[in-house]
Amino acid sequence: MFRKVLVANRGEIAVRVMRALREMKIASVAVYSDVDRNALHVRMADEAIAIGGAASSESYLRADKIIAAALACGAEAIHPGYGFLSENAAFAALCVESGLVFIGPPASAIEKLGSKTSARELAKKAGTPIPPGTEEALPNAEEARRIAREIGYPVILKAAAGGGGKGMRRVEREEDIEAAFRDASSEAERSFRNADVYIEKFIVRPRHIEIQVLGDQFGHMIYLGERECSVQRRHQKVIEEAPSPFIAKHPELRKKMGEAAVAAALAAGYVNAGTVEFLADETGRFYFLEMNTRLQVEHPVTECITGVDLVKWQLRIASGEPLTIQQDDVSIRGWAMECRLYAEDPDQGFLPSPGEITSLALPGGPGVRLDSGVYQGWRVPLEYDPLLIKLIAWAETRPDAIARLERALEETHIGGIRTNIEFFLDVLADASFQAGDLHTGFLDEWFLRRKKHVFSDADLAAARNAAELEAKGRKIERVEPAARSKWKQ
């Protein structure tokens, strides 16, 4: 096993990885940008190395500086977390060339799975179902029209190099396809400097269901159940859960999807933890979407229901240990659900809300897991992702997990900035959400029917009361004086 590992990331995921390192008695090395000297991931580390300016392009995205830091402190391996350099094949290759272990898949697997068209091709060869459509970039709008006629409308055009919804166009009717092709191509060119676009059958009201896989360097790979991440805003996951309410009703799908995921990953020569994303339609048909060649943000829900520590296994596998868990050893217990607490203002179009965290109340008790990257008094910088804390609730059943998550959200307060806590409370209270009737357009529909919480008159009177006292700056005001402990130190 490694003696020292550099974590090439920041925020909650860097803290998460460092906790695993500490539990495994491995020294942890943080890297930090100029504005992150005080960040929690530096506070948690055994060693810390400055790597440059606040902009990610000057620090966390600088492969050269990160590798130099690892070599300078004698780290043997680099954990990339998610985002930043985690899915950068060149970085993975550079690690290996520099004599460092990249804790993730081989560069070749990242490369193969990085392009959606090559990933689709690979999945198809492995027998993993892919949506009807092209595996290759469309040469022109004519070809798009031809294939659309073949597979039937609605169809979707997607940027081959894309992600995050950029360069995507849904087309309902043949007369719109030419304009859509033009728009998608030029947006793809602008966003990814690659105009390639491919076409797929558009899955109506699909669920986003993904399979966690874990494989060692000896060809042994298992799947660790699924996660459902259909609750998305602008193609970004907002609430994730495991198992999927859909698969809970169709349990035979778990094995099918799991085996399809493992087949696709093995076909790419995949090693370590990875996630195969699928879209599933209402009939239970499912289609390969893409593979994420790294640890996911939402990995804790899988850890909660399977009892498997994915980060520790990432480290063991990267150090050359065999995966000793067999597929039959994997069992699922209960239900887990995660909320991503962001520094953003849902009342102002989810605008970012960086700034100082002036107060912080965190939940506890049974079944609550908190993966935090912040602390009270810290100033959330404006340069990075707004994810502050992941709040995960586990319980015996899905209704219990929702109730626990609500309870935990009510206990949570992040003062001084705006967050999406109340937004989550509103989503969790929704009847369709509670029924598990999810699809990737769920939130878009929900915003239209959203019910804001209504305070009682007594609640409002109490709120006014407290605000008035706060305004007066009084410490304590009581009608009936409460007794104090008899002693003072």
Partner: protein, 135 residues
């Protein structure tokens, strides 16, 4: 009734048996009170307790266009003296990888531009002042 401050800005409010815990934070125009994760705004009837914001009114007159979030000015789209339409983009501010285009609430002439590309700005800072031609 018994109201006790249990932590800074946190009030434990007992009204008979009924208990509520309230977290109070000051806001641009009053207070935001949080009760079990739910928030409500409270205005206190003492105008000195907070400063009026310079938020512009839509339609006519003088509009002070401010950024609702802190961030970095990535593009200034107008100069002093420019004629702008209602809804026209004036400045783009970026924070946390998200860009926000500030739009003019009125048609008129740009009177002031207090944004420089690359500069960091605070929430509620006035970046552009537009004056209605009618006023």
């Amino acid at each position: 009734m018994s109201i006790v401050k249990v932590e800074p800005s946190v009030w434990s409010h007992l009204d008979g048996h009924r208990h509520r815990e309230l977290r109070v934070e000051s806001d641009a125009d009053g207070y935001v009170v949080t009760l079990r994760g739910r928030q409500t705004k409270v205005k206190i009837e003492d105008p000195r307790a907070w400063s009026a914001t310079g938020a512009g009114k839509a339609g006519s007159g003088v509009a002070k266009v401010l950024t609702p979030m802190p961030g970095k000015v990535v593009r200034v789209l107008v100069a002093v003296g420019a004629q702008v339409e209602s809804g026209q983009g004036l400045v783009v501010v970026e924070a946390m990888k998200m860009q926000n285009e500030l739009k003019s609430p009125i048609a008129g002439t740009v009177k002031q531009v207090q944004a420089v590309e690359g500069a960091t700005v605070n929430a509620n800072q006035v970046l552009v002042v537009v004056e209605s031609d009618a006023s």
